[in-house]
Symmetry: C2
Subunit: 166 residues, 2 copies
Amino acid sequence: MAPPDAAPPPAGASAQAPRAGVAFLLTQIGGYAASHFAERVAELDLTPPLTGLLRLIAMTPGRSQQSLATELDMLPSKVVSLIDQLEALGLVQRSRDPRDRRVHALSLTPAANQTLDQLRQVATAHEREMLAPLDDAEKDQLAGLLQRIADHHHLHPGIHPGYRNL
Amino acid sequence: MAPPDAAPPPAGASAQAPRAGVAFLLTQIGGYAASHFAERVAELDLTPPLTGLLRLIAMTPGRSQQSLATELDMLPSKVVSLIDQLEALGLVQRSRDPRDRRVHALSLTPAANQTLDQLRQVATAHEREMLAPLDDAEKDQLAGLLQRIADHHHLHPGIHPGYRNL
DNA sequence: TATTGTTATACTCTATAACTATA
DNA sequence: TATAGTTATAGAGTATAACAATA
């Protein structure tokens, strides 16, 4: 997933050379975290995009596919395909909104709650495994540093940027 | 690039809930770093995989395409396509190895050295921009924490894991 | 017969745009 | 006429496997 990023300083670089490498580490570890998470949720027959959709539907049941497409900057046809998969898994229901019969109101099935529980466990295990070598104070340190980077680049959990490519 | 990862604690979660979110930040920031770097090198008519190949050829000129495919776990046919692009850009030359006329010995053209210089500048700027909100001490802190995570998961700059998908 | 590099084929995935049913 | 959702078509990208040259 993560392509090579900033090149490490060449063999004969002077000690003065800017320490290139942290950005590379971020790319490398980020890619590893993404694929590790994907493997984990695959055991639940899910993919990362499906888990995101599931979570959004859980937060505001009854919402339309169009609203998901807009919020995530995804193609409507892609949303159809993903919801099809969630429906086939028996996790999501489509029902006509009586007030506007064009829209499909999305809601979770009872079975989905169990899946959401499992998903929370997976997320917790994923977090623990990714940060295994750090103690609690170091995890807090890392969280603070990363949050400041995310804020600086206007990255927020609302996902917007780059959901389109998965 | 970065799909949603670990879900943040639900709205009504207890204060006891494990702070899920650092792994998500790693995925999100890593994806952002990757696409940011891709934009930067696009100005040089390159892509991240091309820069990686260029760097490897610079390190050991004369190597074969097969050795690149093996080291990066890439398909030989993919290497052909990438080397084609580097050749079209006038950065890499293919020449028959006289000792084994099956192999194409790869080498950089003189023009490539200038591109490598620009690449180093891009990498430096990328690093600076990614870490802009941190002071030097904090950059060192972050570097240390990330390096320990990378080591723990056996991630090294040698790129191996997951090059295949780009 | 095995290996390097290449080309050709098939497959998957995504995007664009046409279509339906409602409004 | 416009919008929600769906389906169909086309294009890009990737992998598989066939191929020519050399060993």
